[in-house]
């Protein structure tokens, strides 16, 4: 079951069992954005509270698999309280991680990848997902929805 162990790392199961930043914020002042994964039925709602270019608070609701739930929970921890630029950067780094199979990387890219993963912190636990291509959409749902929310806020 080594494949499964790669996918379901302990930290992922932990965030799945005890998701952080669950709930809702009053809208307004918060901005609500919804995401769907039509293929598996995952749904996510993110309430975003932005003040002066900073993502002061966010709350998540919806339902999904362990990967999508853990990913959204890990994301919420990573971006809460961050500036627009930091949030955008985190989104970009995460999506890049999801796009790349390690095997396909050159040495230079590998080094960059390691640096970025360090930057991503706990989120790097989701790296095993790239071995299960159909699950990538589960992992990216929250991030795409967050990006959409930022777009809507013209942030």
């Amino acid at each position: 079951m080594s494949n499964l162990d790669d996918l379901y790392r302990e930290i992922i199961l932990d965030h799945y069992r005890s998701p952080r930043n669950r709930g809702q914020l009053a809208t307004p002042p918060a901005h609500r954005v919804e995401g769907f994964n039509p293929l598996c039925g995952d749904e996510i709602t993110i309430d975003l509270l932005v003040d002066d270019g900073v993502l002061v608070d966010l709350k998540l609701s919806g339902q999904g698999c362990s990967i999508s739930q853990a990913s959204s929970s890990l994301m919420s921890v990573a971006v809460k309280g961050k500036s627009r630029d930091d949030v955008r950067h985190a989104i970009a780094s995460f999506k890049e991680m999801m796009l790349r199979h390690e095997s396909a990387l050159s040495d230079d890219e590998s080094k960059n990848q390691v640096a970025r993963l360090r930057e991503l912190g706990e989120i790097a636990a989701l790296q095993g997902v790239v071995k299960f291509p159909v699950r990538i959409k589960c992992a990216t749902l929250a991030w795409n929805t967050l990006a959409q929310g930022l777009d809507e806020l013209a942030l």
Binding site: L7, G41, D42, C65, S66, I67, R135
Partner: protein
Amino acid sequence: MSNFSAQRVRAETPEFLRVINDHPLTYLDSAASSLPPRAVIEAMSRYYELRHANVHRGVYQTANEATDAYEGARATIARFINAPGGADEIVFTKNATESFNLLAKSWGLANLGRGDVVLISEMEHHANIVPWFQLREVTGVEVRFLKVTDDYRLDLSTLDEDLAGVKLLSITGMSNVLGTINPVRELADAAHRHGALVAMDAAQSVAHAGLDVTALDVDFAAFSGHKMLGPTGIGVFWTRQEILAAMPPFLGGGGMIADVRTDGYRPATGPSKFEAGTPPIAEAVGLGTAARYLESLGLDHVVAHETALTADALTRLAHHFAGRVHVIGPATTQARGGVISLDVEGVHAHDVAQVLDEFGVCVRPGHHCAKPLMRRFGLAATARASFGPYSLTADTDVLIEALEHAVKLFG
């Protein structure tokens, strides 16, 4: 005595030779698509190797053979579903979904306007929902939903009120999520008493419960080849000859016309009117072969076999996972087919399916294209196991073993 042997069906189905993650294939996804037997695969290969040609407009021998093969499949399907008017009532589409679009956008557009009602149910597949929503956007027809009870049956307690103003009752023969088999004949009688016509989504029932459109007294039926051991790329639309004759054309193009001038066109008559362009010829050959294969097994035997597997699985699942694994569907095999949707507490369907894959077990996670039903039961997804004529008790053994692992992993 029955000759039916699920072991033999399995031996005749090549995909069971696959080894998945060091396990033999445990295919429990026949409700999504069935695995075709060698006979079906070879019939299509032989067709392409020996007699492929475009149909209908040819004079030469292989074109005649292709036409005969295509039209022969039409006759086979007419027999298989006991169409009262024979082959002239069978329209080949690309899938059950196109059949419903044909129903809604040809017959529906001509017959259903503001003030009329289409009655469907909360357990319908999107194929029998979205086309009606699309029609509503155009004509303002009302789309009404029959409710589903807490024990996963159609709520028929207010059927007479529900049928008021209804011009079409469009209902599934068997739910692809719950396994529930609906009392189609009874519903058809009630609908007809109210002057409504009756359409049946036979996508699941055709190969798992049987389809006799005459005995069920329905007016329309839709199903797909790939769920009855046949190929992808073909579906069936059936209706009575009188109704078909009065339906306006749907897709336009070659084959569906009697004449085309620069100022207009006249449609053809019969099923051709609804078969624009080069039809799914090889697919019809495969579908006809699949129907004959099912006939040779005896659909009664298939149903009995799948019912026995279902009864056994329901009992064992309840026994093994008491309280942790919920079956979303009737608890007994009374008016129920071999579709078993599972809700595992604390484990999302997607994760269930992922863990099961490690054991070579194929189940389908998700909403199964029945989102209104999922919402009705407050679920985003189930992990659905479904049987086919090649399924064995051993499949249930592996399913249970793998489920145990999933439950353990997620604690």
